[in-house]
Amino acid sequence: MNLLILKTASHMVSGLMLVFSVFLLLRGHHEAGGGFIGALIAVIGFGLLMIAESPAYVRRRLRFPPEAIALFGLALCLLSGLVGPLFGYPFLTGVWWKDILPLGTPLFFDIGVYLAVIGAVLTILLALDEELD
C-alpha cells in the first residue's frame, strides 16, 4: 500500500521534475538556469524513479541507452559549434534566426550540454545501482 503511494508519488514528482528541468534549460539564457542545472534536475527525477521502480524500468523509459544520450548531446554541442564555420565564421560562433523564432546555435549548444550531462550521470547512476544490487 505504502509502496504504491510512493510509486505513484515518485512518478508524479519525477514527471514534474523533468518538465521543470526542460523549463530551466530553456530559460537559462535569460534567467538563472541552463543546461547543466536542468540536466541535474532531470537526473534527480530519474533517480527518484529508479529508487521507486528499478534501474531496468528507467532504462526502458529512457528508450536509448544513457551512454548514447550522452554522446548525442556531445555531438549536438559539436554540431552547433560547426554551424558558424558553414557561414565562414570561426568555430562556435553563435548563429541566430531571430526573424522566425528566438532560436540560435547557443541554445542548441545548451541542449547538447543538457543531454550530455543527463546521459553521463545516468550512466553512472544506473550502473552503480545495478552493480550494487
Binding site: 551512454e67 548514447a68 554522446l71 556531445l74 555531438a75 559539436l78 560547426l82 558558424g84 564555420p85 565562414g88 565564421y89 570561426p90 568555430f91 562556435l92 560562433t93 553563435g94
Partner: protein, 496 residues
C-alpha cells in the same frame, strides 16, 4: 588559403579526434568499422597538422577567436612554431600508436573504449598545445586527465587499479593547485587570455610573483613528472597495455613541459619569478632519480618509465637555463623525446607480445629472431643516451652548449653523466634480451607489421632528425619564445 579555412584548421586538431571518438563509440559491436575509422581520422589529423605547420611557416603565428568575439574576450586558439610542431609530432605519434593499438588492444573487453580514450587524450593534448587562454588550458588539462583515467582503468586488474589510484590521487592535486593558481592570477590581473596576461602580469608587484608562479610551477611540475613530484608515473605506467603505454609515454608529461615553457616565457618570464635556481636544481634531481630508477629496475617497461622521468629532467634543464639557445634545445629535445618515448614503449610492447612478460632477464635471442626490431631498438638506445648521429645527440648538444655558455657547468655535468647511465641501463636490456641466446626455442621470428611498422617509422623519424637536423633546428630556433611579440600580436591581432 582563405582565413575562414585557416580558422577552422586551428580547431580541427581538437575536433577530429573528438568526432573520431564519437563515431567509434557509435560503432557498437562493429569493430571492423571502428578499425577502419581510427586510422582514417588519425591520418586526417596528420594532414591537418601538416597543413597547420605550412600555414605557420608562411604566415607566422596564426590565431582564431572562437565565437567570433574579439580578443582578448573570446577564447582564442593559436598556432605558433612551438604549438604547430608539437601538434604535428602528437598526431604522428598518435597515428602510429593507434596502428599498433588496433592489434595490441584487440582482445581487451572494452576495446572500443580504449580507442575512444586515446582519441580524447589526443584531443586534450592538441587543445592544450593550441589554446591561447589560461582557463581553457585548464579545461584541456582536465580532458587529458579524464582521458588518461579511462585508459588507465579500462579492463584493469587489481594491480592496475592500485596504480590508477595513485595516478588519479596525485594528478588531482595538480589539478586543484593549477585551478587555484588560475583563480589567484585572474584575481590579480583580471585577464585570462595569454597575451593579455603577458602585459598585465608584468605589472604585478614583483614580491607576489614568486607566490603565484610557484603554484603554477607546482601544477605543471606534477603533470611533467619533475622531482619530487613524479611518483605517480612509475607507480602506474608500467601496468598499462603496451600501445596505451606508448601514448602515455609520448604525450601527457610533455604537455606539462609545454605549459611550463609557455607560461614561463610568455606570462611570467622565469628570471623575474625567482624560480630559476629552483628549477635548475629540480632538473638535476629529476634526471638523477629518473636514471637511478631505470638502473634499479629488472623489468623492461619499468626501466622505460623511469627513463621518461630522466628525459623530463633534460627538458626542465633547458627551461631553467632560459637562454634562446637553451629554449631552442628544449623544443628540439621535446620533439625528439616524444618520438623516442613512443618508440621505446612500442618496442617494449612488442617484446611483451613476444614473451608475454616484461622481465628481460628471462628473455633472449631477439637479435637473431627479430633483426629489424633489434636494429630499431639499438638506434633508440643510442639516441636516448644522446649518441651521435641520432636525434638525442642534437638535443643534448644544444642543451649542453647552452648550459655551459650560461655558466651551468654542474648541471651540464649531471646531464652528461645521466646520458651515460641511461646507456648503461638500456644496454642491460639489449645484452640480456637481444644479444644473449634464447633458452629453448627462442621467440617468434615473424615480423608483425602491426608493431614493427610503427616502430620502423618512428626509428626512421628519429634517424632523420639526427642525420639532418637543420629543418627542426631552424624551426625551433625561430620559435622565438623569449621574445613573444609575434605571438602576442597574433593573439590580440584580431581586435586591432
Amino acid at each position: 588559403m582563405s582565413s575562414s579555412l585557416t580558422s577552422l584548421l586551428l580547431v580541427l586538431p581538437v575536433l577530429l579526434p573528438l568526432v573520431s571518438s564519437l563515431l567509434i563509440f557509435s560503432c557498437g559491436k562493429h569493430h571492423r568499422l571502428a578499425n577502419n575509422l581510427l586510422p582514417l581520422f588519425a591520418l586526417l589529423h596528420l594532414v591537418v597538422a601538416v597543413a597547420l605547420v605550412v600555414q605557420v611557416e608562411q604566415l607566422g603565428p596564426v590565431s582564431v577567436n572562437l565565437g567570433n568575439w574579439p580578443a582578448p574576450f573570446a577564447i582564442s586558439f593559436i598556432a605558433d612554431r612551438l604549438s604547430s610542431i608539437l601538434v604535428l609530432t602528437t598526431s604522428l605519434v598518435a597515428l602510429l600508436v593507434m596502428i599498433t593499438a588496433r592489434h595490441d588492444l584487440a582482445d581487451q573487453p572494452n576495446y572500443l573504449l580504449h580507442l575512444v580514450g586515446m582519441n580524447v587524450l589526443v584531443a586534450g593534448v592538441c587543445g592544450a598545445f593550441m589554446t591561447g587562454d589560461l582557463f581553457n588550458l585548464y579545461v584541456w588539462f582536465e580532458v587529458i586527465l579524464i582521458g588518461s583515467f579511462v585508459l588507465m582503468t579500462l579492463d584493469s586488474d587489481r594491480n592496475r587499479i592500485e596504480g590508477a589510484t595513485k595516478y588519479v590521487a596525485l594528478n588531482l592535486v595538480s589539478t586543484l593547485v593549477f585551478l587555484l593558481a588560475i583563480g589567484l592570477l585572474y584575481g590579480a590581473t583580471g585577464a585570462l587570455n595569454l597575451a593579455d596576461l603577458h602585459t598585465r602580469a608584468s605589472e604585478l608587484p614583483v614580491e607576489y610573483r614568486l607566490l603565484i608562479a610557484s603554484l603554477f610551477m607546482f601544477g605543471f611540475a606534477i603533470k611533467a613528472a619533475v622531482f619530487p613530484l613524479y611518483s605517480w608515473l612509475p607507480a602506474s605506467y608500467h601496468l598499462l597495455p603496451g600501445a596505451t603505454a606508448a601514448l602515455f609515454a609520448a604525450l601527457p608529461t610533455k604537455v606539462g613541459i609545454y605549459a611550463m615553457l609557455r607560461f614561463f616565457s610568455l606570462v611570467m618570464p622565469l628570471p623575474e619569478t625567482g624560480l630559476q635556481p629552483v628549477l635548475a636544481w629540480l632538473a638535476a634531481l629529476t634526471m638523477l632519480v629518473g636514471v637511478a630508477g631505470a638502473l634499479a629496475q629488472p623489468d623492461v617497461r619499468r626501466k622505460m618509465s623511469f627513463l621518461i622521468i630522466a628525459s623530463i629532467g633534460y627538458l626542465v634543464m633547458g627551461i631553467a637555463i632560459f637562454t634562446p639557445l637553451s629554449i631552442t634545445g628544449t623544443i628540439f629535445y621535446l620533439v625528439h623525446a616524444m618520438v623516442l618515448k613512443a618508440l621505446l614503449l612500442l618496442v617494449a610492447a612488442r617484446m611483451n607480445s613476444l614473451y608475454g612478460h616484461d622481465d628481460f632477464e628471462n628473455m633472449g635471442g631477439l637479435a637473431k629472431a627479430q633483426p629489424l626490431l633489434a636494429v630499431c631498438f639499438l638506434i633508440a638506445i643510442f639516441s636516448m643516451a644522446g649518441f651521435p648521429p641520432f636525434s638525442g645527440f642534437w638535443g643534448k648538444f644544444i642543451l649542453v652548449r647552452a648550459g655551459i655558455e650560461a655558466g651551468y657547468g654542474a648541471l651540464v655535468g649531471v646531464a652528461l653523466l645521466v646520458g651515460l647511465l641511461t646507456l648503461f641501463a638500456l644496454l642491460r636490456i639489449w645484452t640480456r634480451a637481444f644479444w644473449r641466446t634464447a633458452e629453448g626455442d627462442g621467440p617468434d621470428t615473424d615480423i608483425d607489421w602491426n608493431y614493427d611498422g610503427p616502430i620502423l617509422v618512428l626509428t626512421l623519424i628519429s634517424l632523420a632528425l639526427g642525420l639532418y637536423m637543420v629543418p627542426l633546428y631552424e624551426w625551433a630556433a625561430g620559435a622565438n619564445l623569449l621574445n613573444p611579440t609575434d605571438y602576442v600580436d597574433a593573439l590580440l591581432g584580431a581586435s586591432r
